[in-house]
């Protein structure tokens, strides 16, 4: 048991899923050739003016509502001034004292208990461009395609007490942003990023310790590594008689260590002031309600419904609802007639085993195929193991499960007339096993089933074999 407690707060940036940028109509699509999604506005040419994308406000309000925030009725945008080549205007248009959402929270599960993590604020701002460092030419190159892509920044209270809690919170945020369609949350494309504020303090101490801010974290697992590393670093420092310096640090996930970027003394003076080129944002109650009505069912509500309506366990319901795509897939399969428990099992076990790379969201066949496969099991047409093989085949090529079963010889023989001669032969050839079964040794039944399955090349229906063996021995 450590003598120190960790205190963590997060600043999460999520790119919004709008078609166009926040202040101009350039595309937000990822992966275009450098500087092809740019115009005079997003490259900060002289004389141009911004006009706010309405969808940005709606998405921010939606995220705020989903995270139990108060929506600011009268908001404004501000300029955050600093020089850097990825920022063509030399100011980032953001929000300072009147963010769109504030005072929210999300509940996470930690150590089997529900814990509430406070959300200080959610504000809108523009993303910066991308710097490409060219080590050979001694130059840095600038691509403004991402410049002006809308972001929300979610700032939490310092309410998390371990990297595991922080990770659970991040996963919750990701799942909500996906559910609401506010962001596609692709960390590998940088559409979801987080900075970590972390401090440690001796157990029982009320005051917070000195915190550091960790930047350049590109995945949830990197976040956990960075937090664990920073916690250890701070504890080591304190235990060896040193002091934590308030500073911004940069995480290097390859090296597994961080380095100091700038200390508090060198911190920027951003000279925030109200953006005169943009007018106030007034989100009245009617607008808020309109957005609230458009909110989809959120992960927690869905999880509860899966437990009560479908009788799933909390664990299963939690896994299925973590991603909206997975949950939608599951529900469609159920709608197509699959039994909820069977569908849940297949998705979480068989399908998920085949999807390690891409995640549950990328199932290549429609839910109706899963439902049809499960229906074959239900009808006794194929065995449970055969169903797994059908699913594997569906990953290769999408076609009717019944056809796959036929082609691959997975159909169970339930036709008694076909099985009678096989079983008769086994009875005739194995008098010892017959005697054991008749003496009440039920284990011997296994021998008959095994033999019959082998003889039928696995296509016999075990239940039918059972029934036939009993009937034929009675005669």
């Amino acid at each position: 048991m450590s003598a120190f407690e960790t205190v963590i707060g997060l600043e999460i940036h999520a790119e919004l899923a709008t078609r166009s940028k926040i202040y101009c109509s350039c595309s937000t699509a990822f992966g275009a050739e450098v500087n092809t999604h740019t115009c005079p506005i997003c490259t900060g040419m002289p004389g141009v003016l911004p006009v706010l994308n309405k969808k940005v406000v709606e998405y921010a309000v939606m995220a705020g509502l989903a995270m139990n925030c108060e929506i600011t009725e009268y908001g404004k945008q501000d300029r955050k001034n600093y020089f850097y080549p990825d920022l063509p205007k030399a100011y980032q248009t953001s929000q300072y004292d009147l963010p769109i959402c504030k005072n929210g929270y999300l509940e996470i599960e930690a150590d089997g208990k529900v814990k509430r993590i406070g959300i200080t604020r959610i504000h809108i701002e523009e993303d910066a461009g991308k710097l490409i460092h060219d080590p050979y030419r001694g130059q840095s190159l600038i691509d403004y395609n991402r410049c002006g892509v809308p972001l929300i920044e979610i700032v939490t209270e310092p309410d998390m007490r371990s990297p595991a809690e922080a990770k659970a919170f991040l996963e919750k945020v990701k799942s909500i942003l996906e559910y609401t369609g506010v962001s596609d949350c692709k960390m590998q494309e940088g559409s979801l990023r987080c900075d970590v504020n972390l401090s440690v303090r001796p157990m029982g101490q009320k005051e917070f310790g000195t915190r550091t801010e960790m930047k350049n974290i590109n995945s949830f697992s990197a976040a956990v590594r960075a937090m664990e590393n920073e916690r250890e670093r701070q504890i080591d420092l304190i235990e060896s008689g040193g002091e934590v310096v308030q500073a911004t640090r940069k995480w290097d996930d390859v090296k597994g260590e961080s380095s100091q970027m700038r200390s508090k003394e060198e911190a920027h003076d951003y000279r925030y002031f109200p953006e005169p080129d943009l007018v106030p944002i007034v989100v009245d109650k009617e607008w808020v309600e309109r957005i609230r009505r458009a909110l989809p069912e959120l992960p927690d509500a869905r999880k509860a419904r899966y437990m009560s309506v479908f009788g799933l366990s909390a664990y299963d319901a939690g896994i299925l609802t973590a991603s909206r795509k997975t949950a939608d897939y599951f529900e469609q399969a159920v709608q197509e007639g699959a039994s909820p428990k069977a569908a849940a099992n297949r998705i979480m076990v068989d399908i998920s085993a085949l999807l390690t790379e891409k995640g549950l969201e990328e199932i290549p066949f429609a839910p109706v195929y899963l439902a049809k496969t499960l229906a074959l099991v239900e009808a006794g047409t194929v065995s449970s193991t055969a169903a797994k093989k059908i699913i594997e085949a569906l990953f290769e090529e999408v076609k009717e499960p019944a056809e796959i079963a036929k082609e691959k010889g997975l159909l169970q023989v339930s036709d008694e007339s076909a099985l009678v001669p096989i079983i008769q032969r086994i009875i005739d050839e194995n008098p010892k096993a017959v005697a054991e079964l008749q003496a009440g040794k039920e284990k011997a039944m296994g021998f008959f089933v095994g033999q019959a399955m082998r003889a039928s090349k696995g296509s016999a229906n075990p239940a039918v074999i059972h029934k036939l063996v009993r009937e034929m021995l009675k005669k």
Binding site: P46, V51, N81, P88, R271, Y272, F273, D277
Partner: protein, 487 residues
């Protein structure tokens, strides 16, 4: 050919007495002949102008086109023109070629106007004499030893010298009205939000407004008809149904209530200018208006508030000039910070640097509340001050400037220069419309301007009063003596 107004030219063009190409050529010839002395143009675009004139003639020949079709115009060099360099009279943008037209430029082009070129100004519109231009000094056509005012000095001088029948300028704290007063023509600063700012290189975004220089109030109304209007590219642009401003020019001011704030006639106002305002009161009374002295008690605070707000916004607006995307870049540097600091220190002139420093200071940690925020609070109070007066009066009458045009180099102390804006800045702070119109000459033969201030979007009211005054006095017919000598 005498003083050529837009109205008269327009009639001649539509009646095919002259062609646009002929008119354009004659202005280009006069620029060639006269602008070496005046120095109003930074860039003359003769080829583009003649092309536009030819296109206008095609329309006019078909009996098409409007009031501005085929009419030449000069544009202040902080208003972007696609493919024609837009320098803001700064070394920083010496070679900047915008790939877009400002909305006003687009409107003028759509109306068939012919752009003659880009006009000199104080660097980034910061100044009141056009002396801070990186390129040249512009001379006052009434007295070549005097400044034309600023920052739109090129625009004012070019209209007075008849190098263009009208010109566009921008006004952040008086930059249209003050040079119009110094050069003896009509300068309108419209209500904030009436004319799109898209493509106007920003100085102080919450104060900047594009307006016009013309010989007459009638021309002013005519031009306003073409440049005013909602622009979806400018979030601060008002979406209103606009009147035909020429319709306000009835000559009728009977019963109008005109207030004259005493604070504008106090110490430091040249006696002849005070006399001109008093005379204007008599003229308007004679025409049936009720003139009355009133008070705008916060007047003296407008100037410091203006310099804090405008410089704070400028410090942010001018941060983008960093030698990376466009504009000047120093040739030798060691690393990024060196590139930034050297480029900006060499690319900007002294006055621009002074304003950036002042604005940065006013916004910096520890000073924001005392300076920037305080100024914004004073702004609220000044707006309320005006609001009370407009409950009582239709229009306010003041001098445009405390003095007439001064000599080059006379205001070398920045504060002394700033004091010259005392009559104009409050209007920008409150976002009001105001017009400066000629009110005769002082004893030295230099023009005097008087200012009419209206309530928000009450351009029609100030144009109506200005027009009646102009008709009654005939001051619009005054022109510089040197013109006859040098043509």
């Amino acid at each position: 050919m005498g003083m050529m107004t837009v109205k008269k030219l327009s009639r001649m063009l539509r009646e095919r007495e002259v062609s646009s190409v002929e008119v354009t050529k004659s202005y280009l010839a006069r620029i060639e002949q006269r602008d070496g002395v005046i120095g109003s143009f930074i860039t003359v675009c003769a080829d583009e102008a003649l092309k536009a004139a030819t296109a206008a003639d095609t329309l006019l020949a078909k009996g098409e086109g409007g009031a501005l079709t085929g009419i030449p115009v000069g544009i202040k060099d902080n208003i972007c023109t696609a493919g024609v360099r837009t320098t803001c009279a700064s070394r920083m943008l010496e070679r900047f070629l915008p790939p877009y037209d400002a909305t006003v430029v687009k409107r003028l082009k759509d109306a068939g106007a012919v752009i003659l070129g880009k006009l000199n100004m104080d660097e980034f519109a910061m100044g009141s004499s056009t002396e801070s231009s990186y390129f040249k000094k512009t001379k006052n056509p009434y007295d070549l030893s005097c400044v034309p005012g600023g920052s739109s000095g090129g625009s004012a001088a070019c209209v007075t010298a008849e190098l263009a029948p009208f010109a566009l300028g921008s006004d952040t704290g008086g930059s249209i009205r003050q040079p119009a007063a110094f050069c003896g023509n009509v300068g309108l600063k419209p209500t904030y939000g009436l004319v799109s700012r898209f493509g106007l290189v920003a100085f102080a975004s919450s104060l900047d407004q594009i307006g016009s220089f013309t010989h007459t109030v009638e021309d002013c109304a005519l031009v306003l008809n073409h440049i005013a209007g909602h622009d979806p590219m400018d979030s601060t642009s008002a979406a209103l149904d606009l009147p035909d401003y020429t319709g306000a020019l009835t000559g009728e001011v009977k019963g109008m209530r005109i207030g004259v704030p005493r604070e504008y006639l106090g110490e430091g106002i040249q006696p002849e200018i005070r006399a001109a305002v008093e005379d204007a009161m008599k003229v308007l009374e004679r025409l049936g208006a009720h003139c009355e002295y009133c008070s705008l008690p916060l007047t003296q605070y407008a100037l410091p508030a203006y310099y804090l707000i405008s410089s704070a916004e400028a410090s942010s607006n001018l941060a983008r000039y960093d030698g990376v995307k466009y504009g000047y870049r120093v040739s030798e540097f060691k690393g990024l910070n060196d590139l930034y600091e050297k480029t900006r220190s060499e690319g900007f002139g002294a006055e621009v640097k002074r304003r950036i420093m002042l604005g940065t200071y006013a916004l910096s940690s520890g000073y924001y509340d005392a300076y920037y925020k305080k100024a914004q609070q004073v702004r609220t109070l000044i707006g309320q001050d005006f609001g009370k007066r407009f409950a009582e009066f239709d229009v306010l009458l003041t001098p445009t400037t405390p003095t007439t045009a001064y000599r080059f180099g006379e205001k070398s102390d920045p504060l002394a220069m700033y004091m010259g804006d005392i009559c104009t800045v409050a209007v920008n702070i409150a976002g009001l419309p105001a017009i400066s119109i000629p009110a005769g000459l002082d004893r030295a033969g230099k023009p005097i301007g008087i200012q009419l201030i209206g309530d928000r979007f009450a351009e029609s009211e100030i144009l109506r009063v200005a027009h009646a005054y102009e008709k009654e006095t005939g001051h619009d017919a005054i022109s510089p003596v040197w013109r006859e000598e040098s043509v």
